[in-house]
């Protein structure tokens, strides 16, 4: 790698003028992005998680802001793969950039089943396999921490699609390098490092958590050094590209993650506050590097 890292790059055989991907669950299925016309500077969009059956998601409140970050407990709310395939994906075809579908499941087989159904669409360039959602009882974090399960999920997906896929790993326990290696062994064409960190806020006056599932997914720009460390460790261990996810709020954060070994860099929480985050990050990066 050369430094400063190049902003333009190749990923899964495509040319990207921007390394910025919009993270799963913070960009919907693209409809609102198209409405707001906030796709300038966006390298790729990752859909929110799709599961086999429709999921209502968790009972509100689903969000809680702490002084330095955000707790979310969405619970993979989505209308199910059939509705996504028939009613939502056609509109996503209008996106001016590559589109990835984030896939979740409650059992090892469900991931492949969902992918298999989505194969009928040609809108997306590939998948992100989410074995790491901290906000569901089944198929979430517990899957991601076990390399054996990661391997089987990846193998299952490999069998039903020729499109590239990334496995999105968890920072919540286990050994992320081992899970990344298992994903690659199972046929993953990338790994996403990483999903949200398990966090919690308790009201000391009552001892209660506002979030009903008690623990939730925590995001914060202050987590950047944790993500940098994991991206660096994983990208030194595996041969496939690493997609970073977490901690980005400034152009220099993206550059730092690229320097740490990320091939593409996702932005989530910042996008929720700044619909034009990708374009703003690109401007900042270009100013910093002169590229």
């Amino acid at each position: 790698m050369s430094f400063p890292p190049a902003i333009r790059r190749k990923f899964w055989g495509h040319d990207f003028s921007s390394p910025v991907m919009l993270a799963s669950g913070t960009a919907g299925f693209g409809e609102e992005l198209l409405d707001l016309k906030c796709l300038s500077g966006v390298g790729a969009v990752v859909s929110k998680a799709v599961t086999l059956k429709p999921r209502e998601g968790n009972l509100p409140p689903r969000l809680l802001e702490t002084p330095f970050g955000l707790l979310n407990s969405i619970g993979l709310a989505n209308p199910g793969v059939h509705h996504v395939l028939n009613c939502i994906l056609p509109a996503a075809a209008a996106l001016p950039c590559p589109f990835l579908i984030n896939v979740a499941g409650e059992s090892v087989d469900e991931f492949a089943d969902v992918v298999n159904i989505l194969e009928d669409s040609s809108v997306h360039i590939g998948y992100e396999i989410n074995v790491s959602c901290p906000n569901v009882a089944e198929g979430g974090t517990a899957f991601g921490v076990d390399p054996e399960v990661v391997l089987r999920v990846a193998q299952g997906v490999s069998r039903v699609t020729d499109r590239p896929f990334s496995v999105k790993l968890t920072p919540n326990g286990g050994d992320i390098v081992q899970s990344a290696e298992a994903a690659v062994e199972g046929g993953a064409s990338a790994v996403t490092v990483c999903n949200t960190f398990l966090g919690m806020h308790i009201d000391w006056k009552t001892g209660k958590s506002v979030i009903r599932r008690k623990v939730a997914g925590y995001t914060s720009p202050a987590l950047l050094p944790l993500v940098v460390a994991k991206v660096w460790q994983v990208s030194n261990a595996v041969s496939v590209p690493v997609i970073s996810s977490g901690g980005v709020s400034r152009g220099e954060d993206v550059l730092q993650l690229l320097a740490a070994g990320a091939q593409m860099v996702q932005v989530g929480t910042r996008l929720m506050r700044r619909p034009f985050a990708a374009s703003e990050l690109m401007d900042e990066m270009k100013k910093l590097t002169g590229e």
Binding site: P61, R62, L70, P275
Partner: protein
């Protein structure tokens, strides 16, 4: 639906009104010319990285060249917003959401609780015939409106009691549309007071903790009848009362 946009708005005026409530006027011709009653804006409390999300505030009324907000100082975000002074530039995304569904020529009954009446002036200016009922804890919490009937819990302004006491069969009969906005418990009490046959006329303006405010995060779900959720920020904040699953909404205890 108008497309919301992200603007750097200049604060024109700032005033402490009522108890713990701040009125802030922003210049922004574009938001002013597109906004509809019941819509809201997403305010960036600080240009700093924290807080990581914005704060949703209903457009209280339009001014010549911009719009006015009325907000309660309840936490760190609104505290930062209370410090905004004339001349400051603030990032504002808007106008957002679906406001009140207004049939031309319809007559309206507005029922507000506390700061929930913020936004009523805008609605009043946009309909031909309107009666307004306002409930508040005390006189220092009554949102100023052109004309309204007031009731307060401590009797310090208007009658003494809860807003549900002002609702009469006659008022309900006379209205084509009924707008309700206030704390969830107040809205539920109003809903329960309104007889079945009038409920189809009711629209309620909901609130939820918001992440994005523009529909991408699914954080602002409101439970709807028949199961499932709708997004407060995009499919709301105003919903037909019959669409709300009042039981689950109360259970959520937002």
């Amino acid at each position: 639906m108008t497309v919301p946009r992200d603007f750097d708005c200049v604060v024109k005026h700032r005033e402490q009104v009522l108890c713990g409530v701040v009125k802030t006027v922003f210049d922004c011709a574009e938001i002013a010319s597109h906004a509809l009653p019941g819509q809201f804006v997403q305010i960036e409390p600080s240009p700093d990285v924290f807080p990581v999300t914005r704060r949703p505030i209903t457009i209280n009324r339009l001014t010549g060249n911009g719009f006015e907000l009325l907000f309660d100082v309840v936490g760190s975000g609104t505290e930062l917003m209370a410090q905004m002074r004339p001349g400051d530039t603030v990032r504002v995304l808007g106008p957002l959401g679906r406001g009140w569904a207004i049939d031309p020529g319809s007559s309206w009954l507005l029922i507000g609780g506390g700061l929930g009446a913020a936004g009523f002036q805008f609605l009043m200016n946009s309909v031909d015939s309107v009666t307004v009922l306002i409930g508040a804890s005390g006189s220092d919490r009554v949102v100023p409106l052109d004309s309204c009937r007031v009731i307060t819990e401590d009797g310090s302004a208007g009658e003494k009691g809860l807003v549900t006491a002002l609702i009469s069969e006659e008022l309900l009969d006379g209205a084509d549309s009924i707008a309700v906005c206030g704390p969830v418990a107040m809205m539920e009490a109003v809903w329960n007071t309104i007889p079945e046959k009038h409920r189809r006329k009711v629209q309620v303006s909901t609130e939820s903790r918001m992440g994005c405010g523009w529909g991408v995060c699914d954080g602002c779900s409101i439970p709807v009848s028949g199961g499932g959720y709708k997004k407060c920020c995009r499919e709301g904040p105003v919903f037909p009362g019959v669409e709300i699953d009042w039981k689950r909404w109360k259970e959520a205890g937002l």
